[in-house]
Symmetry: C2
Subunit: 696 residues, 2 copies
Amino acid sequence: MDARTIQIISILIALIAFAYAAWLFAWVKRQPSDNAKIAKIGLLIRQGARTFLRKEYAVLARFAGVAAVLIFVFLPSPIWKGSVTPNILMAIAYIAGTVFSAIAGKIGIEVATIANIKSAEAAKNGIKPSFMAGFRGGAVMGMGVVGASLLGVSLVYLLTNDATTLLGFSFGASSLALFAKAGGGIFTKTADISADITGKVELGIPEDDPRNPAVIADNVGDNVGDVAGMGADLFDSNVASMAAALIIGGALDLGLGGTTHVAMVFCYAALGLLASIVGILTARIGKNGNPTRALNSSTYVTTAIYLVFTAIATAVFHFSWRIWGACIVGLLVGVVIGIATDYFTDDSKKPVHFVAHASKSGPAFTILSGISYGFLSVLPAMVGIAVSALVAYKLCEPINAAFAMEYALFGISMAAVGMLSIVGMIVSNDAYGPIVDNARGLAEMGNLGEEVLEITDALDSAGNTVKAVTKGFAIAAAGLTVIALLGAFMSEVNTAAAELGIAGITGFDIMNPLVFFGMLIGAAIPAVFSAMLMLGVDRNAQRMVAEIHRQFKEILGLREGTAEPEYDKCIDIATTGALKELVPAGLMAIISTLLVGFIGGVMAIGGFLAGNIVSGLLLALFMSNAGGLWDNGKKYVESGHEGGKGSEAHKAAVVGDTVGDPFKDTAGPSINTQITVVSLIASLLSTLFLTVSLFH
Amino acid sequence: MDARTIQIISILIALIAFAYAAWLFAWVKRQPSDNAKIAKIGLLIRQGARTFLRKEYAVLARFAGVAAVLIFVFLPSPIWKGSVTPNILMAIAYIAGTVFSAIAGKIGIEVATIANIKSAEAAKNGIKPSFMAGFRGGAVMGMGVVGASLLGVSLVYLLTNDATTLLGFSFGASSLALFAKAGGGIFTKTADISADITGKVELGIPEDDPRNPAVIADNVGDNVGDVAGMGADLFDSNVASMAAALIIGGALDLGLGGTTHVAMVFCYAALGLLASIVGILTARIGKNGNPTRALNSSTYVTTAIYLVFTAIATAVFHFSWRIWGACIVGLLVGVVIGIATDYFTDDSKKPVHFVAHASKSGPAFTILSGISYGFLSVLPAMVGIAVSALVAYKLCEPINAAFAMEYALFGISMAAVGMLSIVGMIVSNDAYGPIVDNARGLAEMGNLGEEVLEITDALDSAGNTVKAVTKGFAIAAAGLTVIALLGAFMSEVNTAAAELGIAGITGFDIMNPLVFFGMLIGAAIPAVFSAMLMLGVDRNAQRMVAEIHRQFKEILGLREGTAEPEYDKCIDIATTGALKELVPAGLMAIISTLLVGFIGGVMAIGGFLAGNIVSGLLLALFMSNAGGLWDNGKKYVESGHEGGKGSEAHKAAVVGDTVGDPFKDTAGPSINTQITVVSLIASLLSTLFLTVSLFH
């Protein structure tokens, strides 16, 4: 089948996903809700989330405007050096990348802030309707993210027929992801920590108590961090993996003639979306069913369907079975990494029990044991990524001796596409989490009673378990994607070198001091980036705690519940502070890439990317898993183990959870985006780094 | 000058160092002491330290015996494949490496456990004599370590004239360092944490209270961890840096004829020892002087003298000024990294103040801010190592166009030699720390009064500040050394390939999937290694706490101070547990090297070493600096800031300090040794990995 046809089919499948999302959205909206208090608080949450998005998008628009102008002037090559058309296309593609991702985020926030109300109220009728409201709300986001990314990539490629322009689209998606993930991460943890410190610790009022001025901001945070943020992150990874595969596949098509490899990328990606639609359609929960099992089984169903779909397509279109193998290896390793992550954070497994038990000796032991298991948890994922990259490479290398390296790299990029094929399902499961978390809060604030709370607690707990798995999956997928992007970078450098008539490169030799120089610095960046984000959360939380103290001092009757707090002030602080704290960290990563590139040229950048990937994966896995472990350790103690609520072990476990919050929701998952942004900048500026640098 | 002559001169200088050490030892012994209680406790500490060393060396002897047999059978090439003589030499060199390092450690422990008593009693006469007793005690260790390493390397090289045999010696030193550093680290933190939990927290008795059964073990721990452990670590780095330089320099001499480069390595190393002797001789403190300034100024004096000495030698012997430049760049960057490390741990600087202030909000914020600053602290050191490696390479590359790569790698290895040139001074300063720390404890247990305690406190605090700097220095030096070892590994592979008549390698290309495969796994190892050590401390501390509880229950009158605790039981638990917990972590690192090598061959090992270096440096710097920061943060609060002793901030700061203890004294500094061990194994097994592997 030819590539054009399949791009058009991809667009149609993306439109089907949108139609399905619209149907799901309408279904969620149709669900009954009548509690006035819940409606009122739900509205506050929705308005808060909208305020955050509006401000975030306003800051982003300025940033993207400047970036678009720079892209227009310099990329793919400076305008004074050739035709202006590619530059216009690149700038437009960049803006389209931000807009498509922003739209998906907006849809997700809109549905999540309705589904939370519906899920809370549906819990009055049992776990089944409550689960379905949460799950279908999440599925809207899943369909939106994958539909928008497939639509965007297909459109850009169909219109320009040029993979380099796609890098612009991908960079746009990354820019948005940086704001959404890191900014949302700072927002959500600012609110969460401030609400906990002032509420639970200082005032002794329960979580989600409406007297707490930070409580709405806290619920808003779940949405902007986990729905919009995680959605943008996976949108970013999905687009980047396709862009990398299309760059390498496009180069192969150019060399061999035909359009088979480009067609293959679109075909496999589109089938992933189809498989996710089927997986979501089949998601069911029994009357007294287990929500975790329901979420996981729909993931497995999607995986199995994808396997069958792609095997059929490979047979029908005579694609290479080796490349199919690489794709499937990526997918299976992704699932295995998810399961391994689950081991380190599941409350029925040893690590959680160990941390809970260690908490009896005090908070220092909660921290030490959590950090230790967090460190251990990186091994399966790192080995998994290493093995899948190696197997994919070795599977595809022998396809054509004259293009061994190209095929090998294409294999790795297809493994990334395979791992990300079920991303629609992953985003659905992930967005389910904050919806039912919010539903729990709404049920408490709306006084729906103990029975309802039990149901929402069960749904929330399933959300937390699944979240750990999806985070591990997201990091692993980003890891494989950036390895593919490293290949794309080399491909771009060689294209540029050919155009300039200079010698290309065959790789990045560690014994080349420029490569090693870049590697050491690249490895330090994720640590510095995380530190800056965490210190940002700290500073921002201090500002919010001060505001809460002010409200309790100045608003009479607040403590007694006769007056209302000024929720919007807290939302304002979280929003403004998050955007303020995020910018220096983002700039640091971008500027150090430029510095290394202009000092050490493409060789140093190759090392820089490799060091960045390796240490970024390490820290992202460590922080996400340790954070999830502490969170579930606390919940495990609260459910009556090691002394239960109020015991010394509980106090210690709360310390662990507080440390883990910015680990798992701010710094850890933002590192993904940092790596992708840096990798794309490297590819975009490859010509500049090739020609203008202190050393060569 | 020819290399033989200079090797003999090196041996003479090493003997001078021993003579000087003997004189210092005699001086320390001559100092007056008459307090019976201090003598008694001092004896207990000495016996405890001796017990640990004896057991450690016994386990090590078994390990080394097995390793020596394996080396004899397989290295440098299997005995059935050639002459048996090199194998015998290699096995002997290996054993010599363990023995030389063990002797230096033994000397250090002997003097430290006398100097602590002398320093405590001398404090009755003021800060000056007390400082001198501590400093000169430390200097014995400094001279012992550098003298033994220079003597060993010179002897092995003089007798075999073969750098590969030196790898055996170096591997012996590394084996011992692994036991001494990781084992000592587990010992010291087991005792420290158990003493704190049971003493300060549960019983409310002061630190160093003789009723606490763990108190002697705690004091023993300072000696075995910081004196013997750190000494073995720097012995290891020093030998490894010389071995790497001699391998690369020897290959250059072989190519160019002559022995200039080998001579240069010995000349610069011997001058470093001479400079340290002069530096120690000039160390002085005024009557009311500042001990920190005295320690730092002697470091700067040594650096300046070394600069002058080597410049003269370079002019006289017509060495290359470019190589001299590389050596000096290494030295200066080492000093700069030390100063940067100081910033993050000094109690007059922002990070300590920030962590202390954050502690007011509770322990979670102590941890979060400490981790954040710990992450930030890796940047200057990583950039420093990157820059010094790049500058050394670029300085030396142009010396000879036909041997550009060899000269460039020689430049890096000489930067490492330069950085380690003042190691005699560094070890002296480092061993000073536990001596005066012990002296403080002895002064308290011997009831020498407030005035004496004030003096010993001041000396102890100087020791802590200097310790942070020397740890940063040790990690940076190890970093540069292992980069040089990576070059040595390539050199060894090519020598082996030439002997086998197969194609050699020109480097390790990151785009080669085997290299990337190795890199990802290599990067995970330091995290897993640290986790295993920290969990080992945790398990061991639980055993010791149970023993302390037993003693307080079963020994009547212990709480009232009328009966004596069974100190030796605690020392026994710490010793046995440390050796038991260390072995799995060490084996994990060794076995994963073998697995990666036999799966992916030399390419995968190249990547493995690079990933291991990058992530190892990152984690070692992070853990050491965060640990030092928390330690000083606690001291800063205790000195009356943010609420002072007993405040909420203090409790939170204690949590930080407890987390930091295994960070900075067990896991962080042991990572150095892990990297070196793995690098040496890779070089030793290069022929095997080249011929027997699943992939090539």
